[in-house]
Amino acid sequence: MAQPVSLAAPADRLMTPTMRVAKLVLLGGSVVAAIIFPFIFTNPAVTSIAVFTLLFVGAASAWNMFSGYTGYMALGNAVFYGCGAYFFANLASHLDVKGGVGLFAYVPLAGLFAGLVAIPVGWLALRTRRHTFVVITIAIFFIFQLLAYNLTGLTNGSSGMQLPIPPWNAATYNTYFYMAALVVAVVAIGLSWAVKRSGFGLELLAIRDDEDRAAGLGVRTKRVKLATFVLTGFVTGMCGAIYAYYLGSIYPPFAFEAIFDVTIALMAFLGGLGSVSGPVVGALIIEPVQQYFTLRFTGGGLSLILFGVLFLAVIRFLPDGIVPSLGAAFRRRLGAAKAAVDEPVSELDTLGSSTSEPTPEVNGGVPR
């Protein structure tokens, strides 16, 4: 499966210092804009959509970190979302914590719990490949959903669990959740970027391109896959915890929701599978649309029909995703501009930017 891989180095070589500065400014600007967003757009309806969007940015980035980089389609991440949510709810009720900013400190704990859950789940699922892997993640998802309904001692079954209500007033209520979600989203993106940049990321991409060959070249595939899976669980669990806190109560079908998995996959696909910013772009586009559909067309099947059609249109017309398509077009223009300035464009540059790299040679091809 050949995929255009946007490794940083070759593209950077094509960029002038001015462009690099521009890229940093753009990045910094988005961060600042994200921070001041809820203070400018104070309408609670808007900030509510923003909270959900940020949670999905985090969850989609986490999904992409595993499924996008390794090529294993995991459709069971809702397991971690729900585990994070229920762990958080249990913690809050057992420790008898009052609602407030302090409760957010327990979110990373929920993430850790979800990460721990990911170890046996990942160990089990990663024994299989491709289609079997997808189905087993789906099966595990349904098992967890059923457990949520049946382990009433832990989850209260269909009656759900309540979370402490924070004592903030209506005007600023959403802002706290927005900030928490923003932190988690930034962590998710940061992890995603760090993984991609590192040698670890190269191993993951090698697994995606040709796993057996990667194993033959010395990549510890089992360990690498499991480690990434756990990271995904950690981030997704944190998103789930904030979700539960924001909703104020949690029930099995909302914590473990089938459409969740497909939504984050769609977001990553739309934005660009395997790229860091892809899932972010995808989430920023799709979640507000989904919220709008749900609000506008409640009850009937219309929201489902529209969502499904949107889904199909995305897959049909943007099979590579937005970010890689834009990136490729950008690099083509850069390449043309460079050639015009009479610099010899080395073969390595053009190879790296427009085709996929097969398994990188490690130690000159000699397995470790």
């Binding site: 090529g71 491709r130 079997t132 349904f142 696909f269 219309l302």
Partner: protein
């Protein structure tokens, strides 16, 4: 307890047969096209609604109604394959096909909700309520008839696959898609036909499902999860495997309901898959997945 367990086993076999029929279509689609048709669950529900409409508005008996619903569903299947699956580019086909079929499932679910609302329906016919009293068991007629239907259709499927040219081309495509193309088999036509067959059996399965359960558009999720478990349990691409797996899984589920508790029965159903995959990662009768070329 003994009679209860025996009854559970018999129930499991009877319902297993019907699930086997639906799973057979799903695994056949996978075998030929290497894609997982997530829409299979909602297609079963669609089949149920079709039979429901024929019964409620035209007073056509569900079994007779199959004469209409099966070809109609065949057409739906062919349309889906031609319109969406065929257009997928070769790279990333696995992942994309899952998303595409899921999207189609969502659209169909939305359409059904629009036309029929979320109210629970069920198919009512004279034989749904009555049972056959044999050997101390009460076997509902609908289960027996449904099982008979499943066996008949599976038999017809076997005859088709092993005794006709068209069936032979399907089997060839399952064994080696590239090879089949090289010897002149029209893969597009085979794919469309396979998808059509896979959908047509859901018309039958849907009718029985609709008669034995109350359903609404949301029933698709539970169905597809079970069907997926069954085909992986049996081994992707193996129809015989799907048959065995369906019966085994459902018997275990029904026995668990009696021996342990109904609450944990569904969980057991999924747990069986996990247990089997630990021992045989490719399912009961599956072939090891070939290297991605």
């Amino acid at each position: 307890m003994g009679t209860q367990i025996s009854k559970a086993v018999v129930d499991g076999i009877l319902t297993g047969g019907v699930y086997a029929l639906m799973a057979a279509g799903l695994t056949l689609i996978f075998g030929v096209m290497e894609i997982i048709n997530i829409a299979q669950g909602i297609l079963v529900v669609l089949g149920a609604y079709m039979s429901y409409t024929l019964l409620t508005y035209l007073h056509i008996d569900p079994f007779i109604g199959l004469i209409f619903t099966m070809p109609l569903m065949f057409g739906v299947g062919v349309f889906i394959e031609w319109g969406f699956i065929r257009r997928l580019k070769p790279q990333n086909r696995t992942a994309l096909s899952i998303l595409v079929t899921f999207a189609i499932a969502i659209v169909i679910e939305g359409l059904l909700t629009q036309f029929f609302s979320s109210d629970l329906r069920t198919l009512d016919a004279w034989y749904v309520e009555k049972s056959l009293h044999v050997f101390g068991f009460y076997l509902p007629y609908i289960y027996l008839l449904g099982f008979a239907l499943a066996v008949t259709l599976l038999g017809a499927l076997y005859v088709f696959l092993y005794r006709t040219r068209a069936g032979q081309s399907i089997r060839a495509s399952v064994q080696n898609r590239t090879g089949a193309e090289l010897i002149g088999i029209n893969i597009s036509r085979v794919s469309a036909m396979t998808f059509g067959i896979g959908a047509a059996v859901t018309a039958a399965g849907g009718m029985v499902f609709g008669a034995t359960n109350s359903f609404n558009p949301n029933s698709g999720y539970d169905l597809i999860s079970r069907l997926l478990v069954i085909i992986v349990l049996g081994g992707l691409g193996s129809i015989g495997g799907a048959l065995v797996a369906a019966v085994v899984a459902l018997v275990i589920e029904d026995v668990t309901a009696v021996v342990w508790s109904p609450v944990w029965a569904s969980t057991m159903f999924f747990a069986v898959l996990i247990v089997v995959l630990l021992i045989r990662p490719n399912g009961l009768f599956g072939r090891p997945e070939a290297r991605v070329q």
